[in-house]
Amino acid sequence: MKQLDAVLLGIVFIVWSALALMYATIPMIQMPTGFRVWGLGAVLFLVLTILTARAGRNRGGD
């Protein structure tokens, strides 16, 4: 797979987003500050995914 790096980072983003949402919305888990950390982490991996995907395309254009 040509864009495996970006795909794997993208999966991390999806999982972290889902869990951040869960931590924020399910009071039983009692982890509101956990939501902030995992949510910002999800944003970080989204940025990494986009950068990696865009960078990976540069080679294809050669």
Binding site: D5, L8, L9, M28, W38, L40, G41, L44, N58, G60
Partner: protein, 561 residues
């Protein structure tokens, strides 16, 4: 001829990059020396070798945790992510955004100074920095929290530089995809930035409180738990990434499962981090029972990627060794280059990780966590991980990397190759004594164990076995100290001395060249067998823990009569 990418790649870096990396590694060794000295004093005080005033022991324990857990482990990781992205990313060849990395170094160094300085005043916080202990005088914690905030900022900057290093050749169109090590280093750097976010989330509120800029802090335990989860998971991920690197460097063996599978496994590390964080909340009294059960089940996943990496490495080594004539279930292991100090260290690190892993999985089950978390069981098991697996692997990497960066010779490899075994014996004494002490109720953070109740109807002394077990812990600690002092001396010699008469060029250390020699269809049973043994041991020790702890009230009753 074995391709020695780590050694050769480190040697070929520019002098500017070498200076940057050596700055990180030098401070990490300083932190290891400071933290190790305090560990020895703490254990000596705890085991009664000499008397220390109670407040001094808490300061010593706090400084030990801060210096080792936050500064030794993170200065050295910062250097490693920069090194690995520069060496293992094809077309990189140099650290990108070097000034950003230097800025990160400066912030981390300022953090170390601030943390150390905080203990010269009246601060008696342990490494978890519980702000409620400062209610009488919050200002005493200013430098403590400032140190952690600076460390967090520094880590974010260094990790950004590492990610830029890996991305640059992609943007330049030199490469299409990363090597598995580059990908792992990017994932590792990403998690370092998340840890930095968690650090800011946990420590900025108490810092502002100690500066008088806000009211007291609520919910600190939860913020700390999230940070702590990241901070103790990161070194574990770093350890297995470095096993990959080091085994390739001393045997030439790459994964027989291919780089794609390795990348997937490293991605799994990131995927299991957030859902497994729940077990840190088990001691919170208000946590719902359903969450405790789910958290217990999820916590078991934390070991999955580590076990997968272990199996990949062992199976790859076994398949190659069999192609070299290795026979018998375990006979092939003898073919590995054990005279190389790196091989010996990684070998013992896997043993220690297995031992620590078994007991950690016992502890993170919610029924046992409540009973054992405040006993000496905890330091008993986690030193297998922090010292025996993580620090030993980091030191092994430094033994390879520092001579490659300085051009000096490796100090007495014959001596260094024996140290991991002595360290493991010391750890076994410390760990077995400590775990047994925990089962018998020795408290984790109370130093004076000589309590005595002498009332008309009640005469109670601390159980005799406490003193005996803590004596075993002390003996193990002394052995570990001797080994760590020798390692630190060796690393300093490799930093500052040519070692011409007693050293060996790092390229001439004992290695084997098995690259590309794996036989098709070769048997590789030891990895899966080890995992099976580990799972069985975990089951057995969990059952044993329940048996012992169910009998505790009966023992107390019996003792009372």
């Amino acid at each position: 001829m074995t391709e020695r990418k780590l050694t050769d790649g480190a040697k070929s870096l520019s002098s500017a990059d070498k200076k940057l990396l050596l700055a990180f590694f030098s401070v990490s060794i300083l932190a290891l020396a400071l933290g190790g000295r305090r560990a020895t004093k703490t254990t000596a005080g705890r085991t009664g070798l000499f008397a220390i005033a109670t407040e001094a022991t808490y300061k010593m324990l706090g400084l030990h945790g801060v210096t080792i857990f936050f500064y030794w482990l993170y200065f050295v990781q910062a250097g490693f992510v920069l090194l690995l992205t520069a060496v293992y990313t094809e077309g990189a060849g140099a650290v990108a955004w070097r000034p950003v990395a230097w800025l990160g170094f400066a912030a981390m160094l300022a953090g170390l100074v601030s943390s150390e300085w905080s203990y010269t005043g009246g601060t008696t916080l342990l490494y978890d920095g519980n702000p409620s202990l400062l209610n009488d005088d919050p200002s005493q914690g200013r430098f403590f929290y400032l140190g952690y905030v600076l460390l967090s900022a520094g880590l974010a900057l260094v990790a950004t530089s590492a990610i830029a290093t890996a991305l640059r050749p992609k943007f330049q169109g030199i490469i299409e995809s990363w090597s598995s090590i580059s990908f792992a280093a990017v994932a590792w750097s990403g998690l370092l930035i998340v840890a930095a976010i968690a650090g800011a989330n946990a420590f900025l509120p108490p810092l502002f409180w100690t500066l008088g800029l806000r009211e007291s802090v609520a919910g600190y335990a939860m913020s700390w738990s999230v940070l702590f989860h990241n901070m103790h998971y990161l070194p574990l991920m770093a350890t297995v990434v470095l096993w990959y690197v080091l085994m390739e460097n001393v045997t030439g063996v790459k994964s027989i499962f291919g780089p794609r599978f390795s990348k997937i496994v490293f991605a799994i590390y990131l995927i299991v981090v957030p859902p497994t964080s729940l077990y840190h909340m088990f001691l919170e009294p208000d946590l719902a029972e359903a969450v405790r059960v789910v958290g217990s089940l999820l916590s078991l996943f934390i070991a999955v990627p580590t076990i997968l990496v272990f199996v990949i490495i062992v199976a790859s080594l076994e398949a190659h060794a069999r192609a070299q004539g290795g026979r018998g279930l375990f006979g092939w292991i003898k073919l590995l280059p054990w005279r190389n100090p790196v091989m010996a260290a990684v070998g013992m690190a896997t043993v220690n990780l297995a031992l620590g892993g078994v007991f950690s999985l016992v502890l993170i089950q919610e029924k046992l966590a409540v009973l054992l978390s405040d006993t000496f069981f905890v330091p008993g098991y986690f030193h297998f991980l922090t010292v025996g697996a993580v620090s030993l692997t980091f030191i092994a990497t430094l033994i390879t990397v520092i001579p490659s960066l300085t051009g000096h010779l490796c100090w007495r490899p014959g001596v260094l190759a024996r140290l991991p075994y002595i360290l493991t014996i010391g750890l076994a004494l410390f760990g077995v004594g400590g775990i047994a002490a925990g089962y018998h109720g020795v408290p984790r953070r109370i130093f004076d164990l000589s309590y005595h109740v002498d009332e008309p109807l009640e005469h109670i002394d601390a159980p005799f076995v406490w003193g005996t077990l803590m004596g075993v812990v002390g003996a193990g600690s002394m052995l570990m100290t001797v080994v760590l002092v020798t390692y630190i001396y060796a690393l300093l010699r490799m930093l500052f001395s040519q070692n011409r008469k007693i050293g060996v060029d790092v390229s001439d250390l004992h290695v084997v060249s098995w690259s590309g020699s794996a036989a098709a269809g070769a048997r590789a049973w030891v990895g899966p067998l080890s995992v099976f043994t580990m799972v069985a041991a975990m089951y057995a020790f969990t059952a044993l823990s329940f048996e012992i702890l169910q009998n505790v009230p009966i023992l107390v009753e019996a003792g009372a009569h």
